[in-house]
């Protein structure tokens, strides 16, 4: 299926990249990096692209500035994607943390959303 991989550049999640590879099964992947500054977004996206290319995929990339949650939802809808994959973060104790972007996407996406815990 066609997958939007929402990548929090300030805390990139390698497990989310792997899950996107599983989900895509060779179909299209869009890497959408948000958070941090422009350089951090670019380097996080480049790293994810590298791993996706190793897995035989040819991802496209978007770097998202303001309102990344809304942009992720919009990209998935307008691009006809099937699923948004988001990385999770955890507290020191191991509790799952839902940040504002994750919460927005989970509550507002029309596609299915995979939150990698």
């Amino acid at each position: 299926m066609d997958v939007v991989l929402g990548l929090d550049a300030a805390a990139p999640d390698d497990d989310a990249v792997e899950r996107a590879i599983d989900r895509a099964q060779g179909d299209e992947v869009l890497v959408a990096a948000y958070g941090g500054d422009a350089d951090i977004r670019e380097s996080a996206a480049a790293r994810a692209r590298e791993r996706l290319a190793e897995a035989g995929l040819d991802p496209s990339t978007r770097l998202l500035g303001t309102d990344p949650g809304a942009r992720l939802v919009e990209l998935a809808e307008t691009g006809g994607y099937d699923c948004i994959v988001l990385g999770g973060s955890q507290s020191p104790l191991g509790k799952v943390r839902l940040d504002a972007v994750t919460e927005f996407v989970v509550l507002n996406a029309r596609t299915s959303v995979t939150l990698v815990r």
Partner: protein
């Protein structure tokens, strides 16, 4: 970054060494020992007692989660009745504070003051009234209400015997 209350709590309840639960069972509270079988306790947890993604759902995930909690810099307390029945832990957050967690939610323990720990925080679901009531009773204050979960924190008194 946690915004702690400016003032320490006036007194912190000293935890009892043992309690009697609603079914008249005596439950002892003590430090976690190396041979305690925490993973087994968590493997039998009912899904309704999971919160905020813990305990993790699979045995493998439980084991790697507990490995992190059993590091020497964490403070682990268990409740025992024949077998382990409850667990509370303080985990350093790398920022000078400690995050508190306790399982199961019914577990009648209280966190204990320990040398060197003066700032404790936790997150709790907004709708978890019994947990909120307990945390408020021992002096935790809400410090971040904007997120999906509520963050509460307290500062312990500098010195003296707590509570």
């Amino acid at each position: 970054m946690i915004e702690y209350p400016a003032d320490p709590v006036g007194g912190f309840p000293s935890p009892p060494r043992s309690i009697v639960d609603g079914e008249a069972r005596e439950i002892r509270l003590r430090r976690l020992r190396a041979d305690d079988r925490l993973a087994e306790m968590y493997a039998e947890f009912s899904p309704k007692d999971r919160a905020q993604g813990i305990p993790p759902a699979s045995k493998t995930a439980i084991r790697s989660w507990l490995e992190k909690l059993r590091r020497p810099e964490c403070l682990n307390l268990v409740a025992v009745h024949d077998a382990l029945v409850g667990h509370a832990v303080l985990v350093p957050d790398g920022d000078g504070g400690f995050e508190l967690g306790r399982k199961p939610p019914r577990c009648g323990k209280r966190s204990r003051r320990s040398t060197g720990i003066d700032r404790i925080w936790l997150t709790v679901e907004h709708w978890n009234d019994p947990a909120l009531a307990l945390y408020e009773r021992v002096g935790f204050e809400p410090v971040d209400t904007e997120q999906f979960e509520l963050t509460m924190a307290l500062r312990l008194p500098d010195s003296g015997d707590p509570g």
